[in-house]
């Protein structure tokens, strides 16, 4: 019954090892954020956020990249949220839990979620630009090149595909929190299934739909690979004004600044500033999603 010295030491060692690897994680996060905040904080100004790049992108602001990112995620959400919500409704309200079709859809959603983002980029290039876009040009514009090249619409739709699983899973989770009792009450009053979904189930899960949207937006705002071949530009002198325009994006701007610039050292402050803006943006989005999701779970447990 007496603890052996050897086992005691072993226990302490193992605990120490696991703790230290946990500490390493914290250290990495702290260092990363500190470096970015320290390097970028002086760069942030009203001017930096609202003006165009100047002097061959070595000076000036990042407004087109912020604007482009915002526009990208808006168009993406308009496509992904309704589509994802409808899919989630089918899965929770119509499909039988273990039916072949439900299993197939869930398998497809999981597969979509693990496909590397660069593959989405290639798919977007092949499908939206080379196939859909070229067809549109040939059919409506007599072969004149307009839609068969990268633009913000194709980039947003490609991003929508990438974020679709996030939306579907969040909305599905939210729909499931609506008690069966309420569906029964509505049906017993002579409501049709669709009336029940539209007037009881969806209003009851609106915060989950919001969470899904925010998570999708946050994912979309940070990704670069899917839009690489489908619409993002190194530099455009004007803001995108039409679906067929190219655009700038924060994530890609960082890449361009740090690898393609004529003088990488000179652009360092802008790189830091852009990184800080992008980081702040995704942080804020994720935190709001976490808060919303927490509220839903609370509601569910009541």
């Amino acid at each position: 019954m007496i603890k052996s010295f050897k086992n005691n030491i072993k226990g302490i060692l193992i605990e120490g090892l696991t703790l230290s690897s946990a500490v390493v994680i914290i250290a990495i996060v702290v260092v990363m954020i500190t470096v970015i905040v320290v390097g970028g904080k002086d760069q942030i100004s009203w001017e930096f956020l609202t003006s165009f790049p100047k002097d061959g992108m070595t000076k000036g602001g990042i407004f087109p990249a912020i604007y482009g990112t915002a526009l990208l995620v808006i168009i993406m959400s308009v496509a992904a949220v309704p589509f994802g919500t409808i899919t989630a409704i089918y899965l929770t309200e119509y499909a039988k839990e273990n039916s072949l079709i439900a299993k197939t859809i869930r398998f497809a959603v999981r597969t979509l979620a693990v496909i590397p983002s660069i593959i989405y980029g290639l798919f977007g290039l092949g499908f939206f630009i080379k196939f859909v876009g070229t067809q549109m040009d040939n059919t409506f514009l007599g072969g004149q090149l307009k839609w068969g090249q990268p633009n913000i619409l194709w980039a947003s739709l490609t991003m929508a595909l990438l974020t679709l699983p996030v939306v579907i899973v969040s909305v599905e989770e939210a729909l499931k929190t609506v008690p069966q009792d309420l569906r029964a009450a509505s049906l017993a009053l002579g409501a049709t299934k669709w009336q029940t979904i539209w007037k009881v189930v969806i209003p009851g899960s609106i915060s989950g739909i919001m969470t899904g949207t925010i998570l999708a937006v946050s994912r979309g705002a940070g990704e670069v690979a899917p839009i690489l071949f489908t619409g993002v530009a190194y530099y455009v002198a004007t803001l995108p004004a039409s679906f067929s325009d190219q655009f700038m994006v924060l994530g890609y701007h960082i890449y361009v600044m740090s690898t393609q610039s004529a003088n990488v050292d000179q652009t360092m402050p802008i790189q830091f500033g852009t990184t800080l803006v992008l980081l702040a943006l995704t942080f804020i989005l994720n935190i709001s999603a976490i808060i919303l999701r927490y509220r839903i779970r609370q509601k569910k447990s009541n």
Partner: protein, 252 residues
């Protein structure tokens, strides 16, 4: 003269391979309160839910035999379930108001039936709340959330919500089982008032409740209808020994 409202003939119900109701034949009269009693799992709730086809929502339920309401077989393939449920309303064991205002809860049924005129809706809501004996308690706060009401008030609100659709039959699945004695008394009083205009079928665990409010009582045991008679007769001089044993509390 007694008019039959609901009638079943040799009705069987299976959950998958398990038989839940075995050869039920019953005639339930119009504008009376009929109580279903019996121990848990005896099939009384399942039977109740067959009368407005709420069992359709459960996978693997198969029904044989006829269930007639006003002499129409409600399981006929031409029957529109939505219309049936407007005619045969239902209250649940746990009150289940929507997370909407008191007004919107009651207006829900009329709205889905296409009533959008505000004045007409106001009238329907007021009448339904009055008929459910809750108007006085809520008339000054119709815009408040229904979830802020007490359990008993919520249950009466749900009854008002059902009445607003103008049903002919109201099915009640242990509507007072989660309520305190005072709220229960109010619900019971209400049920007795409602039979003036509606046919009421109520499932209850509470024998005294069945004795107090019902005109007829049906005793279910292990999926079978053991005995069905006037409540007074059932509670004083039942024909079957099983009924007597259950009512006197010797089992169940």
């Amino acid at each position: 003269m007694i008019v039959e409202k609901i009638q079943t003939e040799n009705m069987f119900l299976h959950y998958g391979s398990k038989m839940a109701l075995n050869d039920i034949s019953i005639r339930i009269p119009e504008k009376k309160v009929t109580a279903f009693i019996g121990p848990s799992g005896c099939g009384k709730s399942t039977f109740l839910r067959s009368l407005n086809r709420m069992n359709d929502l459960i996978d693997g339920v198969k029904i044989e035999g006829n269930i007639l309401i006003d002499n129409i077989n409600i399981y006929d393939k031409n029957i529109d379930v939505v219309t049936l449920r407007k005619k045969v309303g239902m209250e649940f064991q746990k009150s289940n108001p929507f997370a909407k205002s008191i007004y919107e809860n009651v207006a829900y049924g009329p709205r889905i039936n296409g009533v959008s005129d505000r004045k007409q809706l106001d009238e329907i809501v007021e009448t339904a709340l009055k008929n459910a004996a809750i108007w006085e308690e809520v008339k000054d706060r119709l815009g408040d959330s229904a979830l802020g009401l007490s359990g008993g008030q919520q249950q009466r609100l749900c009854i008002a919500r059902t009445l607003a659709v103008n049903p002919e039959i109201v099915l009640m699945d242990e509507p007072a089982s989660a309520l305190d004695p005072l709220s229960t008394a109010k619900i019971e009083e209400l049920i007795v008032e409602l039979k003036e205009n509606y046919t009421i079928v109520i499932v209850t665990h509470n024998m005294q409740q069945a004795a107090r409010i019902s005109d007829l009582t049906a005793f279910f045991y292990l999926g079978e209808l053991i005995e069905f008679d006037k409540t007074k007769k059932m509670f004083t001089n039942p024909n079957k020994k099983q009924t007597e044993d259950y009512i006197t509390g010797r089992f169940g």
